[in-house]
Symmetry: C2
Subunit: 445 residues, 2 copies
């Protein structure tokens, strides 16, 4: 069986730790093996290795997640980058085309699609490995996984099976019912929809043929025509139109660590980063990514989270509406991990006339580089704080070291390779200052 | 009558808004006239002008407070700078010597000593103006002011008067009694000691003669010998040894805005700076001096305060022990207002080998300057963000503007005059990076 992991995600529900480029699945806050912390996506990937027996694992993600996935899962992970975010059906179709035309996977082979960040036990993945047998002889076979509900939550989709057997045909679905209805459904034996789908690749190709006139499943073509695919979910395009659906019951723990309440329940330490709580604090979680200290006194049942993006102080149980409450926040990401290292925005000024001044601290990892590039609308001034780098400026190579300063004008080509770990203060001046104002050039280091 | 205002203060009780160079009396958080905010020292100074009739007003302060006092009270304010902090008796003796030898004030004239930051009504100052008549014919006359207690607080000193008259001789004192004793004292008619003293200058000169063999009250000599004076309080040196003390009753409001609880009671707005509280927050005060947003959800009866020094999240009623709780914090001030403008430390890295990298944002006010100076142990790199400046570098004058970069080596002489308002990112590299590593040179702009 071939696995397709969907790596979605806005960063607003776990703000300010997550942001648009650092989605919640990448936060290294869960206790992992050997005393190290791991992220949600690392946990799932590790669990998949432990269960084993997969033909392949492919992650479908947006371009902004590529560096994070490489850093957290290793460079050898298969990643299919969606040219733009267009909901789950196009993402799955793209991943299928990759498997078929690039990896030679037959159209009759089974795939399982799952989210990249469920907080579950190994049985969850063992269940997925049983999907293949269930759809073996049925080109229109579709399998879902249902978890045993613990509370009549209004947050989930409910699957009502025909029988109480481990494997059952599905009678019908109910999306996010009110609490009362949820309780009635649970009493009838309903299961939470885990968002896992098992099917054959040609189930997808048939839909592409019928609805999109795409005759041949080809990765390059799919990349080119991706923007023309309708933004539609797999649920809508496949599940809701399916003639027959099978559900496999999963009895273990299934949690969505998508809010501060659920995430902090799984965290090992109540304080991380530069922080101090007095004896009168009870049931608090303090997470501090800033260099300045946080002091808490007399605070109970609360989360305090600080990053370069902002500071959240919330009573546990009150953050469900966080995403809506900050939905108008449009600020640029203030910290980001990249393949070459990471950066933090340490200061940002917007002037009345529209021009901006932005100061970043850059950490480059030894032997990594910032690509050879130029910007249309900004100058940059680099002050080397620490380490040694090979600067490439207008075709010339220069070794730079602590105390050196590099002035880069608008349009001037520049790149930097870290000869040792390298720290730089970068001042950007221009209008507008956006990450997208970058032209990357080819070069050999 | 001549007034001596004592400007003392560690910054720890109102951390992180106050710090060692920005004591609580300088925080502009109180509602002032014309809709503007004023600081405690500004409020007191304004009230003193409103009452009027003083012969002179002199502020005794530490060197680090000089710029703040000039900025907040106007450059014409009389300031006596203590060469080092040595408690209240040496400070008052120094101020007396200044009045006598520099301002020609006679030894027989009356002075009143008061703190720079009581939160009181005008009657408080009107009462002080009555001190003079009470000690007119008595070279050993000593007058205190007593406020009517509102609660049996353990925080204050209690004065027990002989009678319940407005003016009475003092029977005895009780420093910080427990609540039970305080209630008994209040029932007997005790008053809170407001820390105001009225006496004649020669009361001080007699003590200086007897105990310190200082025969002549001279400002220059006192400055020179200041370090040899014993660190001792006026209470200990004068009040506790006085043969006869008079207390004047003050019936108005008297508050010490020395904790977040008492300060926030007097603040006009519950939210200042970039912050947003959801509807479920009750009785909170959020003060944000950072550029990143603070979000509060479901938090009650709390203060949330953020500055470049740190972040405090505390239940109201729990910050009394703040000073002790952070007493080991020794970090450098991260933001400071100066005569030439202000700075913020936006990044600070301490490396394992003892060297440091520190990034500051400087705001220079038009026509002000950073003095001509050099540093022994650090290089500085200035990137001009905005405005125009006259750089003085090794004796040469150069006009600099946005995008220009100035590299200043160890030992290299440099200064900057702002031709317009001027913004600079300064990167310091060296070991150690301390504000004291500065040699100021004379120059004419």
């Amino acid at each position: 069986m071939h696995l397709i992991l969907l790596s979605g995600g806005s960063g607003k529900r776990l703000w300010p730790l997550s942001n648009d480029v650092k989605s919640k699945q990448f936060l290294k806050v869960l206790p992992g093996p050997n005393g190290k912390h791991e992220s949600m996506v690392q946990r799932v990937y590790r669990q998949l290795q432990e269960v084993g027996g997969w033909d392949s694992i492919t992650v479908a993600a947006g371009a902004s997640q590529k560096d994070q996935l490489g850093l957290q899962l290793g460079e050898e992970v298969n990643i299919v980058i969606e040219p733009e975010r267009r909901d789950t059906f196009p993402a799955i179709a793209l991943a299928c085309s990759y498997l078929h035309s690039e990896r030679g996977v037959g159209l009759d082979e089974a795939i399982a699609v799952l989210p990249v960040d469920p907080f579950v036990e190994l049985d969850y993945f063992k269940n997925i490995s049983k999907f293949e047998a269930l759809i073996k002889d049925d080109p229109k076979g579709l399998v879902l996984m249902g978890a045993a509900p613990t509370i009549p939550s209004e947050k989930y989709g409910y699957i009502i099976p025909k029988t109480k057997d481990n494997v059952s045909e599905v009678e019908h679905f109910k999306e996010k019912p009110d609490t009362e209805t949820a309780q009635i459904l649970i009493d009838k034996g309903a299961l939470w929809n885990c968002g896992v789908f098992g099917l054959k690749i040609n189930y997808i190709t048939e839909i592409l043929k019928e609805k999109y006139q795409i005759e041949k499943l080809n990765y390059k073509n799919m990349l080119d025509s991706f923007a023309s695919l309708i933004k539609t979910s797999f649920d809508y395009e496949v599940v809701e139109r399916a003639e027959k659906i099978t559900v496999l019951r999963y009895e273990g723990q299934w949690k969505d660590l998508g809010t501060w309440e659920t995430l902090t329940e799984e965290m090992e330490f109540s304080i991380s980063g530069k922080a101090r709580a007095d004896d009168s604090c009870r049931n608090i979680h303090v997470i501090n990514e800033l260099g300045i200290p946080i002091i808490t006194m007399g605070i109970n049942d609360a989360v305090v989270v600080a990053s370069r993006d902002g500071i959240l102080v919330a009573e546990k149980g009150e953050t469900m509406r966080l995403k809506e409450f900050i939905s108008d926040f449009t600020s640029r990401p203030m910290h980001e991990k990249r393949r070459w290292g990471e950066y933090e925005v340490i200061d940002h000024i917007n002037y009345d006339d529209g021009s901006e001044a932005l100061t970043k601290k850059l950490f480059l990892l030894k032997d990594r580089q910032i690509s050879y590039q130029y910007h249309h609308n900004r100058k940059e001034i680099w002050t080397i704080l620490r380490g040694e780098g090979l600067l490439y400026l207008d075709g010339e190579k220069i070794v730079v070291t602590a105390g050196d300063v590099v002035k880069i004008s608008e349009g001037q080509k520049h790149g930097m390779r870290a000869l040792t770990n390298l720290e730089i203060i970068e001042v950007q001046l221009g209008n507008p200052l956006i990450e997208e104002d970058i032209v990357r050039l080819e070069m050999e280091w």
